[in-house]
């Protein structure tokens, strides 16, 4: 296909001739028309959902900022009584949680949703309904979580929720449950967004946009999404474990029954440290996009920045223990993490030098966006330097849990993320708005924020070195921290004033539009600056450089005229070009769904399910779960359109298929990525299992002294698992040709599901018969947790089996139209593998160490 494409370009100069057929543009507009009125809530287009997403995250940023101001007011003078101790605890917990989970992570994913399709030359992301689901899940879950503050149900154990402070004995009530279930829910939304971003970046780039020509922002989003997929499952597992401990007494973190509170810290920080890079890398990606435009030269060291992004992504997983240097871990283990924490400064340094070189190579226009970037470099480098300081174990032990650390991470997070975000707002507003934001007001806002930030946070280094601990709601006058705290409070008010100015300007000037935007006012070189509508750009350009608009000044005009690929909608619906992952060569025309209610309802029901679980309403939770599953099944029903449209023309003489299966299809990619998430979750479980064994080997059974489930049951469960895998494999081969029937197919799928359930039942029953109770000790709890994790997979697969049987009965599944079966099969194989490994671990390991 790509060879045809190349020859078309070579012969006529453009893939398409002009004039374009009458009605082509109107058909495209009609297919991408945004729903109106109430139905606008069902919209899935990335420009609208992206703006909602960024807007909602920004609202949470303002709310989190108000909480910060309340804290600063409380700490402004010694022995202040403005807030009570409990209110202060709730506020600092909510401030951290809101800023990290409801603002920082969502806003970077939101920027990806908003910008990536345009930047990559796609019409939309590959799973627009999943994006919209992720948004609604986040918006509803986030709002419910924040409202807990007004119902006196807010958590007060810190944004990291360390047990034993957060177990049911020391944190009674629903506060901690709100955090655990609310954050777990929001994490699922983040993972959904990450899968979408990876497939979007790798499979929907414009023709010719090979990896070596991909915008740095897309690279950074790719690395971000990879980190989210591996890091977040660890926190999901941790929240599940703590909630099981709180609700049912499974003692994962209770040291009296073989648990260990430090396990929580390991799992939390395995997520928590990469989270810093999740936040920072996209911001760095945005800086790498804005600086070349403002300096008027290509980015210096493009390849070096790619290397730095990828290296940072990987290295970020070797740093988590540096948050735990004061917990008494062995000296050698601490040293490994100390070394890794210093090593990560190398790739970060590469990026900073590349930016400085870009500024030096060009002539920087001092716009508001440029100012925020200069501010970012200054503040982030300072934060990085104190980061190297706290990476050293002896220094960290001195300043641990003091305001020095508060100053350090605010320099990193506000400098490294908030300043680039504001630069992005000023830079990219013309892509989506009728008006540019005011440069004059923006400069005032920058001045207030930059000076205010340093006035607020620099003194905290000193208060920290003077010994002021974090999370105290007040302090006596005699300790001498009053003046510095007052200075910090004044600085924070200045920051707030700066943010308010930006809000005022946004309200005054920002007018969202998909047409008649002011356009490329900065003379930028990347594709998001092409003329846009709800369908993205009229046609998809062929990219031949990293800055296509600089390379071809007529590109915008030609794209708008429809001279490039896919100037219309040949299937009659919404579609985008799917290209190969590395070379960006056109592979097929991906058909995209239209707006609808099922994904919105699914998000609402899932949110209500989590809320019901939070307040221990089990029956309503089960009802909402059933409703959520039903909505998801309705949503998935039409996601496999089949090959009925055949080949369609995307340019003169260039025809591409409209359907693909196997590794070329995007659903295959989505399922493989979901399996990576599942494997990361299970790996966190395996780590926890071995960790608890090293801490409390005495609770692991010794077959000589304590009864342990007979090995025959484990073998039986394993045989059933393998048999279910064999049956589902055979079922795949029984799929009939289109129009034919094969009764063996549904029977085989049903039998495979029954065998899978049987395997789980045998495993569960034999443990129960051996007298194992999950609340007895950490070994028992870990054993039942393995069964619970496998049970979740089995439940999903049983529902999936019912779904494919229903599709077969409805005539929507056959040998040609088989995406749903293909994805089910992949997950099935994974479940068999995980199940066998789980049996080996929970049945084999105690025998190995107990003999």
């Amino acid at each position: 296909m790509a060879e045809e494409a190349t020859s078309a370009v070579a012969s006529s100069g453009y893939p398409n001739k002009l004039p374009r057929p009458p009605g082509e543009l109107e058909a495209l507009q009609k297919a991408w028309e945004a729903p109106r009125g109430w139905r606008s809530l069902t919209d899935i287009n990335n420009t609208r959902v992206g703006v909602w997403y960024v807007g909602t995250a920004f609202v949470f940023f303002l709310l989190g900022g108000i909480l910060a101001l309340l804290m600063r007011l409380q700490l402004a003078v010694p022995s202040n009584t403005f807030l009570s101790q409990e209110a202060y605890n709730q506020i600092f917990t909510m401030h951290g949680s809101v800023m990290m989970f409801l603002f920082a992570v969502p806003v970077v994913e939101a920027l990806g949703v908003l910008l990536l399709p345009q930047m990559l030359g796609a019409r939309d992301l590959p799973f627009p309904r999943l994006t919209a689901f992720a948004y609604w899940a986040y918006a509803i879950g986030g709002t419910a979580f924040f409202l807990s503050l007004f119902l006196d149900l807010a958590p007060s154990g810190g944004w990291f929720m360390y047990p034993p402070l957060t177990n049911s004995e020391f944190s009674p009530g629903y506060g901690a449950d709100f955090w655990l279930l609310g954050i777990g829910f929001i994490e699922i939304s983040a993972i959904a967004g990450a899968i979408e971003i990876i497939i979007g970046v790798l499979r929907t780039r414009a023709a010719g946009m090979a990896l070596s020509r991909m915008p740095i922002f897309a690279w950074s989003m790719l690395v971000l999404a990879g980190i989210v997929m591996v890091a977040f499952p660890s926190l999901i597992l941790a929240t599940m474990m703590l909630e099981l401990e709180r609700a049912f007494g499974w003692p994962f973190f209770n040291s009296t029954r073989g648990g260990d509170p430090l396990l929580w810290q390991h799992l939390f920080w395995f997520f928590g440290h990469p989270e810093v890079y999740i936040i920072f890398l996209p911001a760095a990606g945005a800086v790498s996009m804005i600086l070349p435009t403002m300096a008027g030269v290509p980015l210096v060291g493009y390849s070096l920045i790619v290397i730095a992004l990828v290296a940072t992504g990987f290295f970020s997983f070797g740093l988590w223990v540096h948050h735990m240097f004061a917990t008494g871990l062995p000296a050698l283990s601490q040293s490994f993490f100390s070394a890794a924490s210093m090593a990560v400064s190398l790739p970060s340094g590469i990026q900073v030098f590349s930016w400085i070189a870009t500024i030096a190579a060009g002539r920087l226009k001092l716009t508001v966006a440029s100012l925020f970037i200069l501010g970012f470099i200054f503040i982030f480098v300072l934060g990085g330097l104190t980061g190297v300081m706290v990476a050293m174990v002896p220094f960290d032990q001195q300043v641990h849990d003091t305001y020095f650390v508060v100053a350090h991470f605010h320099y990193v997070l506000i400098g490294g993320m908030v300043f680039p975000l504001f630069a992005s707002i000023y830079y990219w507003t013309p892509v989506f708005s009728r008006h540019q934001l005011s440069e004059k007001l923006g400069k005032w806002a920058f001045g207030l924020m930059f000076i205010g930030f340093n006035v607020a946070f620099f003194p905290m280094h000193l208060t920290g070195l003077m010994g002021m601990p974090r999370r105290v709601y007040t302090y006596p006058a005699e300790v001498g921290w009053g003046t510095l705290n007052m200075i910090s409070t004044v600085g924070s008010v200045a920051v707030a004033a700066g943010v308010l100015l930006v809000c005022y300007d946004l309200l005054r000037r920002y007018r969202i539009t998909s047409k008649e935007t002011i356009g490329n006012i900065w003379n930028a070189g990347t594709l998001e600056w092409l003329p846009n509508d709800t369908y993205g750009s009229r046609s998809t350009p062929i990219v031949t450089s990293r800055y296509p608009l600089w390379n071809d000044p007529k590109l915008a005009q030609d794209v708008e005229a429809g001279r490039y690929y896919l100037p219309g909608n040949p299937t009659g619906g919404r579609e985008t070009l799917a290209t190969s992952a590395i070379d960006g060569e056109p592979e097929f025309v991906m058909r995209l769904p239209k707006p609808g209610w099922p994904h919105v309802l699914a998000a609402v029901f899932v949110a209500f399910m989590f809320l019901s679980l939070t307040v221990s309403l089990i029956i309503p939770a089960a009802i909402f779960a059933a409703l959520a599953v039903s909505s998801i099944l309705v949503w998935l029903w039409d996601t496999d359109p089949g090959p009925d449209k055949g080949l369609v023309e995307i340019a003169d003489g260039v025809r591409l298929p409209t359907y693909n299966t196997g590794p070329q299809s995007i659903s295959w990619w989505a399922m493989v990525l979901l399996m990576v998430v599942g494997a990361a979750l299970y790996l966190a479980y395996v780590f926890s299992y071995f960790y608890l064994w090293t801490v409390s080997p005495q609770v692991w059974p010794n077959p000589k002294f304590r009864e342990i489930s007979h090995v025959g049951w484990a073998i039986a469960a394993g045989v059933l698992l393998v048999a279910s895998g064999v049956f589902i494999h055979l079922a795949r081969h029984l799929l009939p040709e289109p129009g034919a029937r094969q009764i063996g197919f549904p029977a085989m799928v049903a039998a495979a599901a029954a065998l899978l359930v049987g395997s789980l039942a045998v495993d569960f029953k034999s443990q129960l018969d051996a007298g194992l109770m999950p609340s007895r000790d950490s070994y028992s709890a870990m054993t039942y947790l393995a069964i619970a994790l496998q049970g979740l997979l089995v439940l999903t697969l049983v529902i999936g089996a019912g779904f494919v049987i229903a599709r077969y009965v409805a005539g929507k599944l056959d040998a040609a139209r088989r995406l749903s079966m293909q994805t089910l099969y992949l997950l099935w194989v994974y479940a068999v593998g995980q199940g066998l490994f789980g049996l080996l671990l929970t049945r084999g390991f105690p025998r190995l160490v107990g003999e």
């Binding site: 070596s212 290296a311 290295f315 070797g318 050698l332 283990s333 070394a339 890794a340």
Partner: protein
């Protein structure tokens, strides 16, 4: 065309191998250090001298990891020398080499404490 695409996919995976080797080395070193401490506890410890055991194990891991990185570097150099006409080959070859070099540095840097820290547990 299909061959070139598949080749590029594998080359892309190869670029990530350097950091993956580093992470594997890091995880295993941490595991070995922890296990060494666990097995040296109690009245009848399985390891009498965890310090030496951990040192030897980490040294072996370091050599293994560096050998794998060296192998990867060789592939990267071959890719760069063969792929002068192919932009993606050159780009991915350079990525492989640079990431391998960064990973090798990180491996050596992480292994250093084994020689300098006097007490393992």
């Amino acid at each position: 065309m299909q061959n070139r695409r598949s080749r590029h996919v594998w080359e892309f995976v190869e670029t990530l191998l350097g950091p993956i080797i580093y992470l594997g080395f890091f995880g295993l070193s941490y595991f070995v250090a922890t296990l060494g401490c666990v097995l040296s506890r109690g009245n009848e410890p399985m390891i009498a001298d965890p310090q030496t055991t951990v040192r030897i194990a980490v040294l072996v891991l370091t050599f293994l990891a560096l050998a794998m990185i060296a192998r990867l570097t060789k592939n990267g150099v071959r890719l760069l020398s063969q792929g002068r006409d192919d932009r993606e080959d050159t780009f991915l070859g350079m990525l492989t080499l640079a990431l391998a070099a960064l990973s090798a540095l990180a491996i050596i840097w992480t292994a250093l404490p084994v020689a300098t820290v006097q007490q393992s547990c």
